[in-house]
């Protein structure tokens, strides 16, 4: 059934992934690397969107969890001499376990307060990466042996690339199916009305924990791939900027949309490479882009996709709908500006 649902957007997705699939044949190493980054960020965005877009938990810890996945994978190889293939899953699970613990503060906090608590967690994680030198090698970072693809027809960069591609595809399919299942419905219910959700028998702790676990697992996998891709791990990769980028990806693509995550991630990675041309003014341009997206594409690109592309089948899970709903609910205040409407909403 979920595959049927996929049909509407299959054209777009298979186009994108088809392109990513044949990319290695045509692209030079630089574009191969960019493509690989895209795949890693697609995984990150998928996970983060499950948490923020579907379950409505405005958490800011994903970058840190991503880092934990990367460090876990890399350190197991360096300290324990494990192979990448053994270390990666363990690293991902480690990230998942730690990420799941964040569900407990999430029980009491919501909105901006959850954001701040998780932000603090992320900064504290950075501090640990800096100072737990005996294990993490501190801020200086460390090299990671390249994954060994001995028994496969691919080698080096190409190996990591196709591994990321496979992982991204599988995780995309999982994300799609999960969000369309009763679990996805429970997430959206929590987001749109915790009280009503409880009254329908949805246990907040269970499902918040599940949402955090899922997104952390995705982040963990992405981290593992990232360490394999770079062959070098250091704290900078997982700082606040990293978090901001990921957040921007899902908001630009569309909160509460699986395809939106894919669009947002691939688009932003591509844009950031294009922006290189602006050299030292790229900060300014990037900032302007973010603001413009928020003003002109507030509910994410998938909304326009749905509007303009025939047969684009987007489930109603977009957070945007809630906002739209809000404005209709306060529609009684004729001529009210958006600000006023939201104010009334809050009152």
């Amino acid at each position: 059934m979920s595959l049927q649902a996929l049909a509407g957007n299959r054209s777009f997705l298979s186009l994108l992934f088809g392109a990513l699939l044949v990319l290695p044949a045509f692209a030079n190493e630089y574009w191969l690397f960019v493509g690989n980054l895209m795949l890693v960020y697609i995984i990150l965005a998928l996970g983060l969107n499950i948490l923020v877009g579907f379950a409505g938990q405005l958490a800011f810890a994903n970058a840190a969890i991503y880092g934990i996945g990367a460090y876990g994978t890399a350190l197991l190889q360096v300290h324990q001499g494990w192979s990448f293939w053994a270390a990666a899953p363990v690293g991902a699970v480690l990230a998942m376990v730690i990420g799941t613990l964040l569900a407990f503060p999430a029980l009491r906090l919501s909105g901006i307060f959850l954001a701040l608590a998780t932000l603090a967690f992320a900064q504290a994680t950075q501090w640990v990466l800096w100072h737990w030198e005996s294990v993490t090698f501190g801020a200086g970072g460390f090299r990671v042996p390249a994954p060994n693809f001995g028994w496969l027809p691919v080698k080096g960069d190409y190996g990591v690339y196709f591994l990321s591609l496979a992982a991204a595809l599988v995780l995309l399919l999982f994300a799609w199916r999960i969000t369309r299942s009763r679990i996805g419905r429970a997430f959206v219910a929590m987001r749109d009305g915790e009280i009503a959700a409880q009254a329908l028998g949805i246990d907040l702790l269970t499902y918040k924990a599940m949402a955090f676990a899922l997104s952390s697992f995705y982040a963990g996998i992405a981290g593992a791939l990232y360490s394999g891709l770079l062959g070098f791990v250091s704290p900078e990769g997982f700082d606040l900027f990293q978090m901001i980028i990921q957040k921007a990806m899902i908001v630009v693509g569309g909160l509460g949309s699986v395809v939106g995550s894919v669009i947002g991630a691939s688009l932003l990675v591509y844009l950031m490479e294009i922006l290189r041309e602006f050299k030292s003014t790229q900060e300014i341009v990037f900032g302007c882009l973010l603001v413009c997206f928020m003003i002109f594409q507030p509910h994410g690109l998938v909304v326009s996709m749905k509007r303009w592309l025939p047969g684009w089948e987007e489930p109603l899970h977009l957070v945007g709908r809630v906002a739209a709903d809000a404005s209709t609910r306060s529609g009684s205040y004729k001529g009210a500006t958006p600000t006023e409407r939201r104010a009334v909403e809050r009152a």
């Binding site: 405005l58 603090a120 003003i295 509910h299 957070v319 006023e340 009152a347």
Partner: protein, 293 residues
């Protein structure tokens, strides 16, 4: 004993930094329920403008300060216009991303204009730079200036909210936007001025601290994070809370650095945020934040 008194004194003077930054954050959050993530950059803009007027153009200090604060005020209005008003009805996440966008823009502009003059721009102190005797310890007089400034800004804001009409409007809008609107207040405009006042506070902080923080495009970030910690500690909605939170944060930091080790100084604020939020979600003096049933 001497060590303790030094650490306490330092804690309070650095805490005043955080308090001053936290004030601006609280003003904005109080009425708009949004944290302006470009606050740190507004701080930087204020400082840089003052530097341009005072050091580069040679304008006297007070006019420079006024100009810088005015400049920050205007930037605040712009921020509200491009990153808050048009985005608001699309939810918190959008506003956060938009204000992040603004912070990138401001940082980039700062780097472009002032970034080529070396790594740190030294802002000449407005009072004697020599440390002065204070009881059995020495204190940098400039730090006392910041402390006094924090207190007076707090008092000024209190008066502003109590006595001026604009202030009362902001209060009303903050506590009940619907009622305020039905009373015919243009809350659009009020939010705009709220942002502007918050920005002006950030700018003032930037100018006052410049001799101690020195100026560089990224000066605002860490102060913003610490100020945020202070504000959360104070409950995000209470002006005295912000000051209290700031001072507390400063003192705890110093004690940790002095008696545990200097390396833990930087993680303390974040541990505090986590604890504060998970143990007392309303902060020390705040009222909001609990899940509304």
């Amino acid at each position: 004993m001497l060590m303790l008194s030094y650490l306490m004194a330092t804690g309070i003077t650095t805490g005043a930094f955080y308090a001053l930054v936290a004030l601006g954050i609280v003003i904005v959050y109080k009425s708009t329920e949004v944290v302006n993530l470009a606050h740190g950059e507004l701080f930087m803009v204020g400082g840089m403008l003052a530097y341009t007027c005072y050091v580069m153009a040679g304008i006297p200090y007070i006019p420079s300060l006024v100009l810088a604060v005015a400049g920050a005020f205007v930037v605040g209005i712009l921020t509200e216009r491009i990153a808050y008003r048009p985005v608001l009805q699309h939810g918190l996440a959008s506003v956060l991303v938009a204000t992040i966008g603004v912070s990138f823009i401001l940082k980039g502009i700062g780097r472009h204009i002032w970034g080529g003059k070396g790594d740190y721009l030294a802002f000449p102190p407005i009072v004697s730079p020599e440390p002065i005797e204070f009881g059995n310890i020495m204190i940098m007089s400039q730090q006392l200036v910041v402390l006094l400034a924090a207190m007076s800004v707090m008092a000024g804001l209190a008066l502003f909210f109590k006595c001026t009409r604009a202030g009362k409007w902001m209060q009303a809008t903050a506590s009940n936007p619907k009622a305020a609107m039905l009373c015919g207040l243009r809350i659009d405009r009020i939010y705009m001025y709220t942002f502007a006042v918050g920005a002006a506070a950030a700018g003032a902080a930037g100018v006052l601290m410049a001799p101690l923080t020195h100026l560089y495009p990224d000066v605002g970030f860490v102060l913003f994070i610490k100020g945020l910690a202070a504000a959360v500690l104070g409950g995000l909605t209470s002006i005295p809370g912000a000051v209290l939170g700031g001072l507390l944060l400063g003192v705890i930091e110093q004690l940790a650095a002095g008696y545990v080790h200097s390396s833990v100084q930087d993680v303390v604020p974040f541990l505090i945020i986590m604890l504060a939020l998970s143990l007392l979600p309303t902060g020390l003096l705040g009222a909001r934040g609990l899940r509304k049933v």
